[in-house]
Subunit: 600 residues, 2 copies
């Protein structure tokens, strides 16, 4: 289930992404072509990804302990084939890499839609795409020439091998090693954990991007290099597949959800014969991997959005269908009480509108962030690119953490609307809850996102980028504070923007005093408060726009309803969700640090 | 895992429940005897309930479509036997009913402990106990004489059959019927859904307490009667089991969790031959069932506590063991960085202390509520009983909803502390998340608890009980506002108590104006704000007590640490969790009701 009207509103009315089509790089695209792709994506979901979602959850992946082979859920191979053939793998790639140079913001819309239909499956092409981008950017010529076409055609997939059993968030503690071989390649040895799509039965080969330390390299993150390690060795010029490389899937993780994706514990070089090829320069691995990781973080934010969106739409649909109870405001007629659909109960309305406002807020934030990515790479001039890049960096951790945590909370409310049925496998929401829990953890836990925001992103250019972003909201408030329909809410936003700025200064002062622990103690509550404020700003911008459209007149009945609801959604968020930012800020500015010397 | 020191603190130092032992009804008990039972309960968990928890989840219950038999997870029969033989089924029952007349607050402690070890299993004796209580209170003499001993000995279990496929929250819409038979019994016909323990393979017989409408009875809840419907027909005098009654398990629900409990769709009277016996008077069924439901709601609150508590203790244990990352405040030594246990990372400390404060707050609330129950039944005089009964009624919906929702949120944080491991079946927290999700739904959804609080409980005696409860907190604030160590926090509490009172008046005014929908729209946020305030009050009372103990001196090193941590926990809650009440209240007092005319 998707809300196409809402998606198109955000893309073409709110963000006006059609402006991108004036840039040379994107000139082949148009609103119409995007619409066609959207139709094709929906059809792919209905025919393949959707039906596979339940099968993937119930059947899951299996591991043969003898052969080490992994069997993915029935239908995965065909779904992957259709995914690639419909052009969704390479959509945003350059023409020379086999793509059609669609804006990343469009690719993001599809990521949301595909994740909403089937998160576990979408991770296979998602990580493959990221691996491909790393090779495109930093790989040797032969990798680009030999591997990229194989990936683009759907013959090979890719993975991201960072984590090890004792090196999770602290990537620099990894123990995997790389030994120089005579032919210039490396012999890789180590164990990698939580490798999504680490083994599969639907592609000819898998390219693992593996972080390892070359013998003699420095300790810590400074001594980590990145390698391409193929499942089957390859002829570097023809791309022909040779014999099996010395690596295998040791076991599959037993997880709460995303059973359709093979999460592998991978062993490399058990026989000291695992061939890998260095990407870029030695000891620069983490920098290359960051490209992949930043993309992945945006991808995870979009998963949060997609899953929450489909959970909300399911709950909304159910609430309109399910008859239960009577209207407490209706006159009582014991013999023939007028039973109502539960959408009419105030508490259900409250839960649904809360979810809707969170989902639409996430969408505004996600698409905006994705647009910044496009503008940072293909903007009209260097100044535009630089500005967009700064905002992209600032927004990425917020998008990742806010969308996954608020998305998860929103899914909880879907289950509540379904009542007992929400706890059963009769409806999709229980699987959505289980599948989505991973999003707050992988690609950097949300606690780490908060440290990234407070410790690095807000300090970029001495805080200038952060200040510029707050300034954007400030200007909006200044311009619209006397708005006919929304002035109360816009003034509330202004109040919160001020609080966000002050709380940031408060944290900076603590840091100045040298108490490093206290300075980062409330990074997470700060991120959440900032997220609430940004989302509120975006929803109110949308509401002002909706109000303009309504007052301009000449709108269809459907649009009238759509725009009116947009205004109500923004009002609801401002009055009923935004106040949570104040309690998060209370954490940040509280004098109490009882936590730090607590004896656990 | 349990925190025995904390449990004993709440019972004997904070609530001083030993005062109950002065009452004649409880005179057989002492602090020592409670301690012995506690040791026995822990041993039962370690030997039976704990090991069965994982098996129950992985193996689950199975249903034979031919025979309609249900197989419970291996070990269930033995666990039930041990549970009964150790006296935990009848603990709080009167001596004449085969019990040992332990205070209900003690039984509640065990409910918490058993739920923390195995929620799915604990539901079998939990519902059996409730069914037994209904029969003890309202049943015919033969039921009491024949059935109660069978239940007490562990030979028979009981269930609660309210819900039907189209009558969930709206119980009065049920379609099950009861037809008078010649022998004074009734023929029951209908389908009941979500029947926990509806069928099992570990007891001789099952007594289903079934709500149904006698032919000719009024529509709605006023025409609903309660029946005992045995799985096997029984000889009313000897209790001997006769032939199979006309009822069976149609199917098992496929659920997100609590797989160890058989959640049945039950068919009664397919062959028009399902014998049932009326309990009490005709058309009074819901009143009798309410006894069971109120007990069950307290039980569910305790499940919320138990599950959150064990999740927290697991996360705390893991955080102290798991080495990852370096201390950001330590001097950097790239060659040999001092890696630390993750409990030392400020963000992890923050999550853990948040959980701890929520868990300890829940425990204070749960045990207090249970104590009110004891005092309402066996208090020294009628005035005491009446007062306790009023508070019991007021606190029950808060305890049920706050402990299950905040408990669930707390479990989410346990998973976050475990990182990727938290998403896998390697550790117990993922099962805890899945098992506990049901608690916000069953025995009245949390939305319904909020309506009960705002629509009924706060209005009892024209609001006098509500006012008396707030007054208790007010007096504590007044008395301790100049407290040496806690005055800032106690003044904050006072501020929130005031806000809770004002928000209640605001809701009353809306109701007076006749806008019934607006008046209940924010019942849930109100319940949460009220819960936060009550919990804060209780934690600060505990902190004041801990401070007294510390200043009185002569405390062991272990107690010094315990009391100091109690103070820090209360401070943390006041500064970092209580502020959320303000955002909930913002919902209640907001002029925005955009929600009510939203067009979904």
């Amino acid at each position: 289930m998707i809300d196409r009207r809402e998606i198109e509103f955000v893309l073409f009315e709110y963000l006006k992404i059609q402006k991108l089509f004036d840039l040379p790089y994107y000139s082949e695209h148009s609103i119409d072509s995007v619409g066609e792709m959207l139709t094709s994506a929906i059809s792919l979901c209905n025919q393949h990804l959707g039906p596979l979602n339940k099968v993937g959850d119930r059947v899951g992946c299996t591991h043969n302990k003898e052969t080490k082979a992994v069997t993915t859920p029935p239908g995965t191979k065909e779904a992957y084939k259709q995914f690639v053939e419909n052009g969704f793998l390479t959509l945003a790639d350059s023409e020379e890499a086999g793509g059609i140079q669609a804006p990343g913001v469009i690719a993001s819309v599809f990521m949301e839609i595909f994740s909403s239909a089937n998160q576990a499956f979408t991770m296979y092409p998602g990580l493959t795409k990221s691996a491909s981008h790393v090779i495109q950017h930093f790989g040797e010529d032969w990798m680009r020439e030999t591997c990229i076409p194989k990936i683009a055609s759907g013959s090979w997939t890719g993975t991201m091998c960072l984590t090890e059993p004792s090196a999770g968030s602290a990537v620099g503690d990894l123990r995997s090693t790389a030994k120089r071989a005579k032919d210039g390649s490396f012999l890789i040895k180590g164990v990698k954990q939580w490798i999504s799509g680490g083994e599969n039965d639907f592609t000819e080969n898998i390219l693992h991007l593996v972080l390892a330390r070359i013998e003699g390299a420095p300790a810590g993150i400074e001594g980590v290099s990145l390698f391409v390690v193929p499942k089957y060795r390859i002829d570097k010029t023809s791309g022909k597949i040779l014999d099996k490389n010395d690596l295998y899937c040791i076991s599959l993780e037993e997880k709460m959800g995303i059973h359709g994706n093979s999460t592998c514990l991978m062993g490399f070089g058990d026989n000291d014969n695992c061939q890998g090829y260095l990407i870029g320069k030695e000891n620069q691995g983490i920098n290359y991997m960051f490209l992949m990781m930043n993309e992945a973080r945006i991808g995870v934010g979009l998963q949060g959005l997609g899953q929450a969106s489909v959970a909300f739409l399911n709950a909304e649909y159910y609430a309109k269908e399910r008859i239960q109870g009577v209207d407490i405001a209706a006159k009582k007629d014991a013999k023939n009480p007028a039973r109502i659909a539960i959408v009419n109960h105030p508490d259900v309305k409250r839960m649904l509108l809360r979810q809707r406002s969170i989902v639409e807020g996430m969408r505004a934030l996600c698409y905006t962030t994705a647009l910044m990515h496009d503008e940072s790479e293909h903007g009209a001039n260097d100044a535009d690119k630089k500005k967009a890049h700064g905002f992209l960096e600032l927004l990425t951790p917020i998008m990742k953490a806010w969308c996954t945590d608020m998305g998860f909370y929103s899914i909880i409310q879907s289950i509540q609307t379904f009542g007992g049925y929400g706890f059963t496998k009769d409806y999709p929401v229980e699987q959505l809850l289980r599948d989505s829990k991973i999003t707050s953890i992988y690609e950097g836990t949300n606690g780490i996102q908060a440290l990234d925001l407070v410790g690095r992103k807000m300090r970029m250019e001495d805080g200038a980028i952060f200040a510029a972003w707050l300034g954007k909201h400030g200007k909006f408030v200044e311009k619209n504070k006397d708005h006919k329909a929304l002035s109360a809410e816009i003034l509330m936003l202004g109040d919160y923007v001020g609080r966000i700025g002050k709380a940031a200064m408060h944290m900076a002062e603590i840091a100045k005093k040298g108490n490093k622990h206290a300075a980062i103690l409330n990074a997470y509550p700060y991120l959440m408060a900032f997220g609430h404020t940004i989302i509120c700003g975006m929803l109110l911008e949308q509401a002002v726009l909706a109000h303009e459209k309504l007052t301009a007149g000449n709108v269809s009945a459907g649009d009238k309803r759509f725009y009116s609801n947009k205004i109500k959604t923004a009002k609801f968020f401002t009055h009923h969700v935004l106040p949570e930012a104040k309690s998060y800020i209370a954490n940040v500015i509280s004098p109490d640090v009882s936590c730090l010397d607590f004896e656990f």
